[in-house]
Assembly symmetry: C2
Homo-oligomer: 482 residues x 2
Amino acid sequence: MITRRGFVTGALAGGAAAVLPESASAATGRRSADVVVVGAGLAGLSAARDIRRSGRSVLVLEARSRVGGRCLSRSLGPGAADVANMGATFVGPTQHRIRTLARELGIGLFPTYARGNLIWFQNGRRTPYRGLIPPVPGAQAIAEIADATVEIDRLAATLPADAPWKAAKARALDSLTVDTWAQQNLSSPEARALLAVVIEGVLSVEPRDVSWLYFLSYVRAAGGTSQLVANAGSGGAQDFRVRGGTQGIAIALARRLHGGLLLSQPVRQIDQDAHGARVFTDSLEVSAERVIVAIPPHLAGRILYSPALPALRSQLTQRMPIGSLVKTIAVYDRPFWRAQGLNGQANSDQGPVKVTFDASPAGGRPGVLLGFVDGDDARALSDLPLPERRRLSLGSYVRYFGPEAGRPRRYIDQVWDKETYTGGCPVGVMPPGVMTEYGPALRRPCGRIHWAGTETATTWTGYMDGAVQSGERAAAEALSRL
Amino acid sequence: MITRRGFVTGALAGGAAAVLPESASAATGRRSADVVVVGAGLAGLSAARDIRRSGRSVLVLEARSRVGGRCLSRSLGPGAADVANMGATFVGPTQHRIRTLARELGIGLFPTYARGNLIWFQNGRRTPYRGLIPPVPGAQAIAEIADATVEIDRLAATLPADAPWKAAKARALDSLTVDTWAQQNLSSPEARALLAVVIEGVLSVEPRDVSWLYFLSYVRAAGGTSQLVANAGSGGAQDFRVRGGTQGIAIALARRLHGGLLLSQPVRQIDQDAHGARVFTDSLEVSAERVIVAIPPHLAGRILYSPALPALRSQLTQRMPIGSLVKTIAVYDRPFWRAQGLNGQANSDQGPVKVTFDASPAGGRPGVLLGFVDGDDARALSDLPLPERRRLSLGSYVRYFGPEAGRPRRYIDQVWDKETYTGGCPVGVMPPGVMTEYGPALRRPCGRIHWAGTETATTWTGYMDGAVQSGERAAAEALSRL
């Protein structure tokens, strides 16, 4: 039960990653800090770092028994030096905030393996290829895809970065789904299918789920479609990996808080008045001047607020569902696909795994294939028992990389939809009508409460880089009012 | 703080409505019942009634210090015999379940006042009229509205009542918003504006917020558009009122539970295993064979479930936001509009109040005007202080009924978006893509947990009638497995 959970002694990291015994927490009673941060993902920890650096006191309250949020590392098995990233995995060259942060923490990056061909799998047929656009059949489809990319980038570039809802035709762009736009603008089924693969792969939702304006703003925040969907090694969001796993960044940040972090402390209620704010968990009451809520909007909606939040903000938390994602990891003695001239990347129209990457450690031993199961496919897979998830996922791997892919020495996966304190992955998205009406409530402080989390970022929304930006922005807001 | 709230002693009803002192609750410790019901709205109370009738034990846990959920009565002022309905107000002739229930409880209905003209207010011009279609300018617009009504009813009638997501073209109908459908199918701005008034008035959301398939299924559940939008006295959902107010039905049901109800007990977590279920509040642990969760889906998402719910159900709770609604009540010595040949009903394209009704008690003293502020207008109004809300709302009343409407002896309103344990009104709706993918999870039991609430109804979804149907259905499900 919850009250019991509040007393569970937690460790900073799950799985095989480093544990921080000094931060284990079974806290009760009253505390105080200049700023309380809710959530120990990259957003909350980045905010806490800036608060602490400025000489103010900060206390981070984390619901889980680990830090990192959507950054989660698990062991690759006995003897393996590196870890598997079960959530956030890649870093891109233009993601300056997360790159700077990693550098400052002494955490290195290394290039994602990218030599050789990708696999395109469509209508049951497997085709090796290179370049951005997969070898879909038909010149008309290719032309439509190229045109659509240009059009998406053109429209995205017209959006004000800080307020896409203020764009000239925002209401019109926000009244339709990506699916409706595709039906109106793409005549070839192949082009529409590829757009669906992109939406599923990037947002883990279906084209019918998400507003056209929201997708354009997501493209805008990344700096263009090529940044989002680039193959590894092509200058986009998939170019680099993090030594020791992405959760290591969160763990390093948490260590530097020197105890200003309590685990297993889900926040239930936030009160505020002219004198200050009070943050309640099941066992703790923390007084603060300012509160930074650094969790996805749909989770922020589970907290009770007194007085009630403004209607726009309260309703926003009902209107940003998060995608459905299962990440699947298969570990082999060696990255056998490399010898076949393949780089481990596949894109497919057939699930459950529609997108794969080579996720081997920097040294290439063991060989690791990472698979994404998104949207509908993820929900279908999520409720099956592990052996069945393994069988179906490896079935996809075999279609792309041959029978050897079906015999890994280890298979693990992460069902994000079933994580109570995430509820899905990678990012809260907006259905039609939400951005134009509720967008202004995304970052606007509510009294003493400031909002962080990658959903609130204006650059690289949905990525680790956006999480860091959001935390730094929220910290600056809070500090300016202390 | 929450933990304190759990100990607050509550009374069954708010405001001037009858109080049930024997049900006041400051419960701690352990309890058990065959069935626990979460939520004391009409759905939960109807379920509890059927469980109890069958000879099984039941315990209802209600978060607030009152029963009734979206049925809430407040005093009309000193000396007034009747009450104001701040939420659910009307009953229609085909709403057999709520009519039967009221009759069994000895609660009478009376006709909504309907003699005389309605007011149509568009582009700053006020026009008295009769009949279903307001006097919008232009024969083409009138023809389009009539055609659209026929088309909506035709499409709605093709949907399977229990599973609209199984309709032949469900995916296509569910991929677009009502706004997109209107843009594609209505050429006159007047027809589109009228459809917007309908969507706002019926669902308290904007046409861009909601799936076309969802709207059609809502029409299907009501038995056609004329049922939903009929003027009072025309055979539709607005024909009758409830003597003593709609919350009186909930209070009467609660009395008959003879103590099987605890107030001020928000449910935090539900655990289940092969041996049974355990429902936790801050101060209470209740063991049960079956649990009926009778709250809107977005609130059900705030409860923690162990083990985690199936992915489809968990994600559904992120994808059914509730509308934004302020209900405004002005009380006058007499219903002065009646003498002017007006029945108190107005429809308008200008907010904040776009729809009004005569909500006077059966005897016509005092005179009461009820106004609906929906969607965008509601959010704009919700955060203003009461004097400002009063000024703006009465401004609308004056436009429709003249200067006398600006001088009520009492003004009260209900800002539903700011109610923590509702978060909006009248009903959780579905954006595009939700019904076809998540619809099957709406009523499907999850182990020992059954789902009720008007959102889960197949007849009169969103109305009191649907709430009763859902409670009776969930009770039958639970009883069949005891």
